[in-house]
């Protein structure tokens, strides 16, 4: 099917649900108190946007995810690369990292609050931890599984160590690294909610808590909607930026 047709098909279900809900509430068939109709949610969104609050909250959340993502991805790529290329380091570090990976990351929250208070540091750190593991696993696994013969062809042509890394290792591990980054970004959004639920005065997570405490379901749904939009948008940006790097791949990526 054409691109436009596919996008259109994906919109059918949410649109039908929204319109159905709106129609059911209008004549009083169901109460809209706990789940407000799309029109009210839209109005709330518009209000938030008009007052400038929406921008502030979205910005706060995106900055946290962005910082956490950058830290987690950078450390993950570095650690993955080192562990995969230096056996001693692998034996030293990998078991501990794998053990830490098994800890549900939310379990860190109390500890991080104790250590770093409730300001930005623990939030960014929590997100970074969430991003780190998929990136680390992706990069180290990808390097370890590079076809030995691809390296040997490079050695026959007498590529320097740097040349081997740049011309062979890097492109070979790029796809798995990008998958790791993408997973990491998704987890970043998962964790920013947790981070903002643990106490924040701005951010989309704050809108959730605030909406719950003051009984504003429209604000909660509006925040959820924004989370979805921001997450999808960030994923789209990542995919668009990295697409040229893996154009050569013979995969189904385009349809994802």
């Amino acid at each position: 099917m054409r691109q436009g047709g596919r996008v259109g098909l994906g919109l059918v279900l949410p649109l039908a649900l929204a319109i159905g809900w709106e129609i059911a509430i209008d004549p009083g068939l169901v109460s809209g108190r706990l789940l407000p109709p799309p029109s009210r949610i839209g109005a709330t969104l518009l209000d938030l946007a008009a007052s400038g609050d929406l921008l502030m909250h979205v910005q706060a959340t995106l900055i946290r995810v962005g910082l956490g993502f950058l830290w987690g991805a950078a450390v993950g790529i570095l650690a993955g690369g080192l562990v995969a290329t230096l056996p001693t380091l692998r034996w030293l570090l990998d078991p501990s990292l794998q053990a830490l990976r098994a800890v549900p990351s939310l379990a860190w929250v109390p500890l991080f609050i104790l250590w770093f208070g409730i300001l930005e540091t623990p939030k960014v750190l929590l997100i970074a931890v969430g991003v780190f593991f998929p990136v680390y696993v992706g990069v180290s696994g990808a390097i370890a599984s590079v076809d030995r013969k691809l390296i040997e062809v490079g050695r026959i042509f007498r590529l320097s160590r740097f040349g081997l890394a740049r011309r062979i290792l890097l492109p070979a591990v790029l796809p798995a690294t990008l998958v790791g980054l993408r997973t990491g970004l998704g987890l970043g959004f998962l964790f920013v909610v947790a981070a903002e639920l643990m106490g924040a005065s701005e951010g989309l997570g704050y809108l959730l808590v605030d909406g719950q405490q003051f009984g504003k379901p429209d604000q909660i749904v509006a925040a959820i909607f924004d989370f979805a939009a921001a997450g999808k948008l960030a994923d789209l940006v990542l995919m668009t930026l990295t697409r040229p790097l893996t154009r050569w791949q013979d995969t189904e990526r385009e349809s994802l």
Binding site: K149, V153, G154, R155, I156, R158, R167, W248
Partner: protein, 263 residues
């Protein structure tokens, strides 16, 4: 014909001599040594063409890897062009059993790798790559990615990647193993033409007795693992050769008998 062959052999400008002296090699499989090569000695004159035949798993690829300098032999000495082999070098190139192209590079990019590594300038590079792709009949697919090639085209791309570097010794590890019968015949003619034109020294590993007899000046038959030399047979028929040439048919029977005793 004979004069031409002699002429080719005395012209040492391109091909490098190969000399492997009593090479033995063993791999370590979970602590237990697995002997793979047993006192193998092979000599190929500059510009010569030798085929290696032997049962699967006997150590043919290993021998080529040692000559290519990818691993040092446990025992024995290997020299190419009078120089001790101490590591890989672009003057003696190994074409692997499978094409091992870089999936993220186009055909042109794959062929370019060796020239890039040697710092050949861009313009010179492009001209040489075009020539190499022309030689293997892949000019139309210069910008295709490996996954867009057929198996035989991928093998030809791998061949071009080696030829573009004008190696003095070309090590071919079953380069036609996965091709259908027709493509295989065409590629055999191609390899023969390239060898006669470029005058490199060639060592070809193959499972196909006929292929060895059509191409090589000498056929070396290896025993089962650990590989030792069972027989060395000169093939004197002039090129181009025909499968039904009585001399070749006789040689073929002899070789199959030797192989039959072995397996």
């Amino acid at each position: 014909m004979v004069a031409a062959t002699l002429q080719r052999h005395t012209d040492q400008a391109r091909g490098a001599s190969l000399h492997a002296e009593a090479v033995s090699h063993a791999f370590d499989i979970r602590g237990a040594p697995l002997p793979v090569l047993d006192q193998v000695s092979v000599t190929v004159a500059p510009g010569g063409f030798v085929a290696l035949l032997g049962p699967s798993g006997c150590g043919k690829s290993t021998l080529l890897r040692l000559v290519a300098g990818l691993e040092p032999p446990d025992q024995g000495v290997i020299t190419v062009g009078g120089q001790l082999v101490e590591g890989p070098d672009p003057s003696r190139l190994l074409v692997f059993q499978d094409p091992t192209l870089y999936p993220w590079r186009t055909v042109r990019g794959n062929v370019a790798l060796g020239l890039e590594a040697q710092g050949v300038g861009r313009a010179d590079r492009a001209a040489r790559i075009d020539r190499a792709l022309g030689l293997v009949g892949l000019s139309a697919f210069a910008d295709a990615y490996p996954h867009q090639l057929s198996g035989g085209m991928a093998q030809r791309a791998a061949l071009a990647r080696a030829l573009v570097n004008e190696p003095r010794l070309l090590l071919l590890d079953e380069p036609l193993g996965k091709l259908d019968a027709l493509t295989r015949l065409a590629m055999q003619a191609e390899i023969l033409r390239l060898w006669q034109e470029k005058r490199f020294t060639a060592v070809l590993v193959t499972h196909d007795v006929e292929e060895a007899l059509i191409l090589a000046e000498r056929v070396i038959v290896l025993s089962d693992r650990p590989a030792a030399i069972r027989a060395e047979l000169p093939v004197e028929a002039p090129y181009p050769r025909h499968r039904d040439d009585p001399d070749l048919v006789r040689l073929r029977r002899t070789i199959l008998e030797i192989l039959g005793q072995v397996t």
